[in-house]
Symmetry: C2
Subunit: 369 residues, 2 copies
């Protein structure tokens, strides 16, 4: 099997702008080209777009706009984890020998139609994700004797990390009191416990082993890929303190990578809501069940950026189809030593965790220099 | 590289029904399971949906509805060639070792939003595909001294083939006079020159080499894959008598398969409009430029079903995201000897040609027993 690397990246600032989806896709592509020497349009033979937008044929449109005439081009959609699904698809095209250089660009707008899963009737009248998140939050608080103030530390930490990310949607810092005093959306969630819909785009370049060094001195190898779909309805998750698809995806990814949790230096994880971060930390195996919040709190207290250095979804914003790609750009920057103010020293192994619809499906990627 | 086979298929009747997209996807999946012994939900580790519908998370929804909990699941969209793009993606997951058994289900409804490419301003006010098809038709008629009556033979032939396809949208046969007397849509196109929007779904199962024999006695191997995206605007095609993306895709596919046009026993090609069939026959290399119509006419006169045995898009109907999958099910049936009244004797090598938006992109698959 041919090895595949992520070699380069591009990003736009996450905002509430009313930019058309085509322009968003082009901006991240331009950002990637601007930061990549030796890359010509002719090199690219796969163009994948990840988005929840309703517009069709966006990969061909992006190709035309950016002067690329690829062999393979199409859109990948899987709600909030569209980004990592597109990256895994690009990986497989290269590993299977159908392409050598793949451009993956994720984008969505603040008004993306992917924010509500109309089909999931198990939510009853409560279609917005904050309702599953409320149930998860209430359940987690009860099971582990956690208070709303305890959970608020996640938002405090991730906003602090986002302050050093020039592309983040938020550039404010908050105290626990600020979180607690922000607008109540449900009994268990305040607005600052939630990732925010926004407009943004991110891009990564993947290449085959023989071409990686043409575009970077530090190829970031895709060492492990784990994915799992449990269902599409959040009530099929038998226990609201566990993210079963995340557990399966992590097990598969670590097994393929032949690495352990201790080997991971940095992780981007899908903190769509405060409670998600400790649950994911536990289900990825970084902490025992019920100890994820203590784990995050300790990172906060020691100014350790290991989890969600770019600010997570809560601090950086959540433009759905861009999120998994943006998470990957952060891990690539950390491993390549390009994360500027956010740089974690001696970073060699990174993890991306991206999920959809109450963790009914998850992707875990393990990347290594 | 692991070899990949298409082993099984499922189909629904193409109609004008108002069936929800989720039910359509489930129907083709059930049809596939009903025709596949030894297949259990647990075997399937990749579920891909190809569609132009705006609904999100359909691969996870289909998985839940059909009792599958795959590793990989997502939607693939690339307008009218979504189906073959999803099949190539499934191929690459298996070839890359990320999955062993992939279910690909394509579906669309008669009112699919993929029927109009809003973005292509090169069409001016004329957004419907019949306007590019009119320009192609006028150009082809001028270049090769062809009349509307000459072109009508395509529709006559493909409707006749569709009569023996129980899943076809049309079960009527027509004469050249019928075509000529059908409703005029533009100066160069009558309604019976056009494929019809309809509601339908098709499914195929792809497996790794070691599992193929578990599900069929006659695995149909994916021998060649060729894809090309030229642009997203039909006016970027410099010559309206050529489909450049089809030429490139054919060249790549035949080269990978190490086969020649003479080796092909049967082909499903994307006759979205009458003029497309001769142009595609030429650009695939089955006939010299300008001789595609004579080629089709000769098949008609000798009752030879070699091109579009299930009736093509004109006879069988064109539910966008299902089309590439349905074309593939026909080639699989022909190679496995399961095409009933449509069966072509001694069929060993088959070709699928699927394209999008005035052939701004094309896929060619070469399949072999």
């Amino acid at each position: 099997m041919r090895r595949v690397a992520v070699t380069n990246f591009g990003n736009t600032k996450f905002s509430r702008d009313d930019t058309p989806i085509e322009s968003l896709l082009l901006s991240a592509t331009k950002s990637l080209f601007d930061q990549t020497s030796n890359l010509s349009q002719k090199d690219i033979d796969v163009v994948l777009v990840s988005t929840n937008e309703n517009s069709k044929y966006l990969a061909a449109i992006l190709s035309e706009l950016s002067g690329i005439a690829p062999r393979i081009s199409h859109t990948v959609e899987n709600l909030c984890s569209s980004g990592t699904n597109a990256i895994v698809s690009a990986y497989s095209y290269i590993a299977a020998g159908l392409g050598n250089v793949a451009l993956v660009v994720g984008a969505d707008r603040f008004d993306s139609p992917g924010q509500i899963l109309e089909w999931d009737k198990s939510r009853g009248e409560y279609k917005h994700p904050i309702f599953w998140a409320s149930i998860f939050t209430k359940s987690y608080k009860r099971a582990y004797n956690v208070s709303a103030e305890n959970l608020a530390i996640i938002s405090v930490k991730n906003h602090r990390n986002a302050k050093d990310n020039p592309n983040a949607f938020s550039n404010k810092t908050y105290t626990v009191d600020d979180i607690m005093n922000s607008k109540n959306l449900t009994e268990d969630l305040r607005i600052l416990d939630c990732s925010r819909p926004c407009t943004g785009s991110s891009a990564v370049l993947l290449t085959s082993e023989d071409l990686a060094k043409k575009f970077t001195d530090i190829p970031v190898w895709v060492k492990g890929i784990g994915q799992k779909t449990i269902s599409a309805s959040f009530t099929k998750n038998q226990n609201f303190n566990h993210m079963n698809s995340t557990k399966d995806a992590a097990r598969i990814a670590f097994s393929i990578a032949k690495l352990k949790q201790n080997d991971v230096d940095v992780a981007e994880i899908h903190d769509a809501f405060s409670v998600c971060e400790p649950m994911i930390i536990e289900d990825l195996g970084f902490a025992k069940k019920g100890e994820g919040l203590r784990y995050s709190k300790s990172l906060y207290e020691t100014f350790d950026r290991k989890i969600n250095p770019r600010g997570g979804l809560i601090g950086a914003g959540h433009p759905l189809g861009a999120t998994g790609v943006a998470q990957t750009t952060e891990i690539v920057q950390q491993i390549q030593g390009k994360a500027q103010k956010r740089q974690i020293e001696n970073t060699n192994v990174g993890l991306v965790h991206n999920m959809s619809a109450a963790a009914t499906s998850s992707t875990v990627l393990i990347l290594k220099s």
